[in-house]
Amino acid sequence: MDAAEFFQYVIAGLKSGSIYALVALGFTVVYGATGIINFAQGEFFMLGGVLAVWFHSLGLPLPVAGIAAVAATALLGVVFERVALRRQRSANPLVLVIITIGASMVIKSLARHLFGPDELSLQEFTPGPSIDVAGAAVERQALWVWGLTIVAVLVLAWLYRRTKLGRAMRACSISHDAARLMGIDTARVVMVSFGIAAALGALGGFAVTPLTQTSWDAGAAIGVKGFAAAILGGLGNPVATVIGGLVLGLLESLSVAFLSSTYKDAISLLVLLVVLFVRPQGLFGKARRGKV
């Protein structure tokens, strides 16, 4: 295998990996604010693509359709949190998780009722032949996926570090009670977190649909990958999460290159299990102090 070919596998891995990363970021944001895993995260991804196709079919220009899809999904995330989750906040976290599982079933099924059972397509943002990078061919749309991932991470990092909202979110991720004592409106933080998570998922779905098409059932598989990436990254800061996604994508791609395409999912999951066994808190998660 020459260097160019190897590089091509790396490109492929980074392409899948950044999609996983965007979904994983949604998991981490909600986890940070609420301590729960949102099983509807994959459906946000699906909605981003499906809604963009729908808006585009109504005659909206592609960028507007994309923004509208992301905004609509974010709104849905906020509404979902307000309607289904807010009143249950004090309840057992498991109850919240089950609500997200039920919601994912409903969202998925509604999408089928509204948008039909078949695949939906979207044109590339900037059509054209792929670009040669050190002997490896890179799709133009892949550049968009990477670009949007980077923008999302930068915006998130800025939000977390530089804004009042971000500080409130970080405070919530440490302790809701402490955050409330600091005068933070934790309910608002949770609501906004769901909006951000939904927007991140939808952004991924929108960016990827030109490459992959989408359909009402596109959320489940990507949801599992995103969850795995988030866990690998340690459910912590955005950068670690993105690295988790990229590592997962690379693992899969290199499994195809050196081992077997049939077993690539099993191989990457096996690696994940080994990582978890050695580092129970993920690659970048902070170890709990040995304090009782």
């Binding site: 091509q8 059972p117 695949e119 032949p129 992959t212 059932d217 791609s253």
Partner: protein, 402 residues
């Protein structure tokens, strides 16, 4: 103290009482539910009851929905024309939600409760196989619309099949590739039923067709990028790539091939004979060749032939009713209900499931969408490679390859 001691046990007892109550509900609910249902009286004018188990939801919803549309259309047409032997056809639908266990339960219900003569279905191979043992037990014929070779290879006297299984399509496409001089072939297939079945036939028939397999890659349903697999294939330097896949991933493969600047022609089978493939792959779909039945371009039947008339009539009626052209799945369903109607019309004497099965086996030269069917006691698919034509995608649609 003693009271407290008892309290502990009392709690446990309540738990058990509750478990008992739960069980009572479990067993009583369905009993209540089913009282009163049962077969109606027997009347000469009673319609022929046919069951249909389709994947109307779940991952095969894209198959089951057009299938249902085609069956509805045909049943309405037959009944408006006075039915068969003066009796109408009534179809009782069950949704298996793309789930094998649900398909089986649905088959049981159709057989035992609805007393159907035959079952159309299922949409998928696994669901069809799940219904088999109950159909055999009760002696009710099944006409499957799924393409898995196993359905008729693993022979059952009660199971028929309308689509061209991979057993027919794969050798045809391989021969076409060889004829075009593509002897070094790379394969990429999905790990679902369709892809694995196809891959088995590719491995078995490559040599006979005169091609060598230089790469053999797979992917999973739901994968979003296959460029790793295509890089592997590119490195093997094949003359052509054979995509044996169904679903949206096939379009990703075509895109990935183009993105990697692969010049090799792409081939496929029935799995990519869908408008969604062309939409999804966009420009990358141009020049892709695929082997399947004639419905995509009815002219392939030969203008003026009876088969051409049958196909164009169906296409026109389907389009008038639903506003879109029928796909191959609608065609499979057209054939399933049509074969049953044809067999029913040929039965002399009592119309029973067994008589229907015998009549189906005597189907001889019935002209449908998937081809001209001739069933026999040991061939329940009834189609041959002669039904296959090679298409090329050109300008966003199919045309016959020359």
């Amino acid at each position: 103290m003693s009271v407290r001691g008892a309290g502990v046990t009392m709690g446990g007892m309540r738990a058990l009482t509750r478990a008992g109550a739960a069980l009572l509900v479990a067993v009583c609910l369905p009993v209540v539910g089913c009282a009163g249902s049962g077969a109606g009286g027997d009347d000469g004018a009673e319609p022929y009851r046919i069951g249909a188990v389709l994947s109307l939801t779940g991952s095969y919803a894209g198959l089951g929905i057009p299938e249902k549309k085609a069956i509805d259309l045909e049943v309405a047409r037959i009944n408006e024309a006075g039915g068969i032997n003066g009796r109408e056809i009534e179809v009782i639908y069950e949704d298996d939600a793309t789930d094998a266990a649900k398909a089986q339960a649905a088959a049981v219900r159709l057989i035992d409760e609805e007393g159907v003569l035959a079952i159309i279905g299922a949409s998928g191979t696994g669901q069809t196989m799940a219904m088999r043992s109950d159909a055999e037990r009760a002696g009710v014929p099944i006409i499957s619309m799924a393409g898995g070779s196993v359905i008729t290879d693993d022979f059952s006297e009660w199971v028929f099949q309308t689509p061209w299984p991979n057993r027919i399509v794969v050798p045809f496409v391989l021969k076409q590739m060889a004829a075009a001089g593509h002897t070094r072939v790379a394969l990429i297939s999905d790990t679902g039923g369709y892809g694995v079945d196809g891959r088995d036939y590719v491995l078995a028939h490559a040599e006979e067709a005169g091609v060598t397999l230089v790469a053999d890659q797979t992917y999973n349903a739901g994968d979003t990028d296959m460029s790793s697999q295509m890089t592997k294939i590119r490195a093997a330097d094949p003359d052509a790539v054979l995509i044996w896949a169904a679903g949206k991933e096939a379009a990703i493969i075509a895109r990935n091939a183009r993105q990697l600047n692969m010049e090799q022609p792409l081939y496929g089978g029935s799995g990519i004979a869908r408008q969604e493939f062309i939409d999804g792959a966009a420009e990358a779909a141009e020049g892709v060749r695929l082997g399947t039945g004639r419905i995509l371009v009815p002219e392939a039947f030969g203008e003026g032939t009876e088969a051409y008339n049958v196909a164009t009539d169906f296409i026109a009626r389907y389009e008038a009713e639903y506003g879109a052209k029928p796909d191959i799945f609608a065609g499979h369903a057209y054939d399933a209900i049509g074969l049953i109607a044809d067999a029913l019309g040929r039965i002399d004497g009592d119309v029973t499931s067994e008589a229907l099965r015998d009549a189906l086996e005597q189907t001889n030269g019935w002209i449908g969408i998937d081809g001209t069917f001739t069933y026999s006691a040991n061939d329940h698919n009834g189609l041959t490679e002669d039904e296959m034509v090679l298409y090329i995608i050109d300008g966003g649609t199919w045309r016959l390859d020359d």
